[in-house]
């Protein structure tokens, strides 16, 4: 029986590892490659930690299995020693197995700092590249205007999105902190330019939500009372999943939305279309370029 148990404990880590190895092939893995530069760095970090932990896992489980087999064979009848090995520990070993993990852990800790900084620390935001986007889409902005292109307001249970409207001369207005009469609205459908860092202002109308773009590895809580800027950069022009990751009530799972990354022209065209739809008065000959207030 004891051999069965030895095998049992040796067997399960093998199953675990096999499952993990099979996982990517069965699509039990990340929802696609990270689709943003920051996401790729997060993935790299993940894989690095995965390597370290996998080696540790295999190592410790191997040793565990070994000591079990050793213990089982030592208790076979007729083994040399009647008593177990009498040892209260080894100072040297303790030092080794304290300092080696310490070094590895500290390495992990410091290795990740700049990724974190880039994601969250304001000074590390790619401000220059964001401003280049504003140039390209002809946004009419003052120096202190928000870097955000849209304001995403979470509420139970949907994402309400507010874009700035257009000026009379066709340029895009800057996003104001307060709603403006010219603002354009959408729900559960966030469109932003691709291949460049774009920023949104995240807020919530009621309880706490969390803005989660799994394919871009972006997650940020929307905290009641705060307006939190977040930036992300989608490589490809396609639509990405957007969901809520913080329990926000019974309909938490319902906050199904999408983020569409598209070219600058498509983005402007999308806003134009929103403007047209929003000014729909169902009279065919109505000039749809009217500046609405």
């Amino acid at each position: 029986m004891k051999w069965f148990w030895c095998l049992f404990f040796a067997f399960w880590p093998i199953v675990a590892i096999v499952v993990c190895l099979l996982a990517p092939g069965n699509n039990w893995w990340f929802p696609g490659e990270a689709a943003s530069p920051l996401g790729r760095r997060i993935d790299d970090l993940f894989y690095m930690i995965l390597w370290i932990t996998s080696i540790t896992f295999v190592g410790t489980q191997l040793v565990l299995a070994y000591v079990l087999f050793k213990g089982a064979s030592d208790t076979e009848p007729g083994t040399a020693n009647e008593k177990a090995w009498f040892s209260h520990g080894s100072h040297k070993l303790e030092v080794i197995w304290s300092s080696v993990p310490a070094v590895i852990l500290l390495f992990i800790a410091f290795y990740q700092l700049d990724v974190w900084a880039e994601y969250r620390v304001k000074d590390a935001f790619p401000r220059k590249r964001m401003e280049a986007v504003f140039e390209r889409i002809h946004q009419d902005r003052q120096k202190n205007d928000s870097l955000a292109l849209a304001e995403v307001t979470a509420r139970q249970f949907e994402w309400r999105i507010r874009y700035p409207g257009f000026n009379a001369d066709g340029t895009l207005k800057a996003l104001m902190p307060d709603p403006q009469p010219t603002d354009l609205y959408a729900v559960n459908d966030l469109h932003l330019p691709a291949s460049a860092p774009v920023m949104i202002n995240l807020r919530t109308q009621d309880v706490q939500h969390s803005f989660f773009l799994p394919e871009l590895r972006i997650k940020q809580d929307a905290v009641p009372g705060l307006v939190i800027p977040i930036w992300f950069e989608a490589d490809q022009q396609r639509s990405y999943q957007l969901l809520c990751a913080e329990l926000c009530g019974w309909g938490h799972y319902k906050m199904n939305a999408r983020f569409v990354a598209e070219s600058d022209e498509q983005f402007i065209e999308y806003l134009r279309q929103l403007e047209r739809e929003q000014n729909e008065d169902r009279v065919d000959d109505a000039p749809d370029t009217d500046e609405e207030e």
Partner: protein, 473 residues
């Protein structure tokens, strides 16, 4: 444990409307039977051809049978049928047996190849129905997934989640939907329903289901209409029977002395038996609401402004404000002079449907729920924020609520002398412009900063840059 896992719970059932219990048991059974025959149960639905639903089914016959492979030819070409469409057996040996799915579909000859679902083979000439109520089945599945826990299995707006919601989820069984762009006497158009599903209703718990595909959206809409019709038939039928066969009515009649419970019961059975009696009434009820649903889908059922929207200007807004305060229009009576939704009517005691005074003062809708007039400062427009939406709200009212249609006021144009209270199409646009401007009143006055439309800001008091400080520091 095995029993626990394998002993599945019962299938969902349509719940009855409240008045059902007041009927005599035999009347209850009749109602159940009628509904069961025409609508079925959630797990066994009936696609009734009398209903004006776009069920997209086609009829055909088996033209070739070689082994288990069959060829079915449709009577007419059909756009909705493709490989994978479900096929039911209408006659022959497979009648009432499992359905099959089309393997190949020949668009040109409108012929479908499929495999017989059972060992027994249908014969050439058997009639089949292709994709009957496919939309209903999909709709039912999606409804169970997305809508049922609020709107209830029967669409009675009384799902398990409903008690926690304010306002309550819509009860479809009256056939009334609040936010439509159809005339006041019409029902909702499919377009209205799908817009609500797509965009949600801001300010309520009805969320946006934007990411449903177009097919899914259609299915849900048709299923909701189906539920609505089912509920309407149930309600009307109960109303019809309650007159004479409710427990109370039967007691009354027996007390009248002429009748006994036996004679009443026999009379009921006769009426059921008599095609001119109850069956005829059922037909009348059905044709009544189907004609309403059909006419509501017509283009002329839509609210159509006569003139394009007047561009918003200070002048237009001022005019709108003037109209808003006019005693002959009574906007402020409910919405309040400042537009805060606190008009005098919200404090007045009104009467319920039975003519009794309501316990809580305020305005009530047809479903008997206390409703609040919209606070126009909130910047939240439940029926949508397009000008046509606001126009429709004023022109056609909000169905089932005290918000009346003002379309009648347009007729006043025919009486040019009475200029004092005339309201024109332009006037509605002025009102719309005014309503749009209300949330920005403070901004207009040049004060900037906070407004009620943006209350979170008040807490923050900070500009966005400051908030970034908070967040990022």
């Amino acid at each position: 444990m095995i029993c626990l896992i394998s002993g599945c719970g019962g299938q969902p059932e349509f719940s009855h409307s409240e008045k059902f219990q007041t009927l005599k048991p035999y009347a209850q059974i009749y109602v159940d039977q009628v509904l069961d025959n025409y609508f079925g149960s959630p797990s066994d639905m009936v696609a009734w051809d009398k209903l004006p639903l776009e069920l997209h089914y086609g009829q055909g016959t088996v033209v070739e049978a070689s082994g288990r492979m069959l060829t079915v030819e449709l009577q007419a070409p059909h756009a909705e049928i493709t490989a994978g469409t479900e096929v039911l057996w209408d006659s022959g040996i497979l009648n009432d047996k499992d359905s099959a799915w089309i393997l190949e579909w020949d668009e040109a000859k409108h012929q479908a190849k499929l495999e017989s679902p059972l060992a027994t083979n249908p014969e050439v000439g058997d009639a089949v129905i292709l994709g009957p109520g496919q939309i209903l089945a999909t709709g039912r599945m999606l409804y169970a997934e997305h809508c049922q826990h609020c709107h209830g299995v029967a669409g009675d707006g009384n799902g398990p989640t409903a008690p926690y919601l304010n306002p309550r989820p819509r009860d479809y069984r009256k056939g009334i939907f609040k936010f439509t762009t159809t005339q006041s006497s019409k029902r909702a158009s499919r377009e209205d329903l799908s817009r609500i599903v797509e965009d949600g209703i801001p300010g309520t718990y009805m969320p946006s289901f934007k990411l449903l595909t177009e097919d899914e959206m259609t299915s849900i809409i048709e299923y909701v209409m189906w539920l609505s019709m089912r509920g309407e038939l149930e309600n009307q039928l109960i109303g019809l029977l309650a007159d004479s066969y409710s427990v109370e009515a039967v007691e009354d009649r027996i007390a009248g002395g002429d009748e006994t419970s036996d004679t009443i019961h026999q009379e009921f059975i006769d009426a059921v038996n008599d095609p001119d009696s109850f069956p005829f009434e059922v037909d009348t009820i059905v044709s009544r609401f189907t004609s309403e649903w059909v006419s509501s889908q017509e283009p002329d059922a839509e609210v159509q402004p006569l003139t394009p929207r007047t561009p918003s200007s200070d002048e237009s807004i001022a005019k709108g404000r003037e109209l808003y305060l006019k005693p002959s229009l009574k906007c402020a009576q409910c919405h309040g002079e400042a537009g805060l939704g606190d008009g005098s009517q919200t404090f007045a005691v009104s009467k319920d449907a039975a003519g009794q005074d309501n316990l809580t003062p305020g305005l009530y809708d047809t479903w008997g729920n206390l409703v609040k007039p919209r606070n126009l400062h909130s910047g939240i427009y439940r029926g949508g924020r397009r000008p046509i939406d606001l126009y429709s709200r004023i022109y056609a009212g909000i169905k089932g609520t005290p918000m009346p249609a003002f379309s009648s006021t347009l007729l006043r144009k025919s009486n040019p002398e009475d200029s004092g209270s005339e309201m024109t199409d332009e006037d509605i646009w002025h009102l719309v412009n005014y309503i749009y401007s209300i949330p920005f009143e403070d901004v207009k006055a040049g004060q900037g900063g906070s407004s009620i439309a943006n209350p979170v800001k008040d807490a923050n008091t900070a500009s966005e840059e400051d908030s970034e400080e908070v967040a990022v520091n």
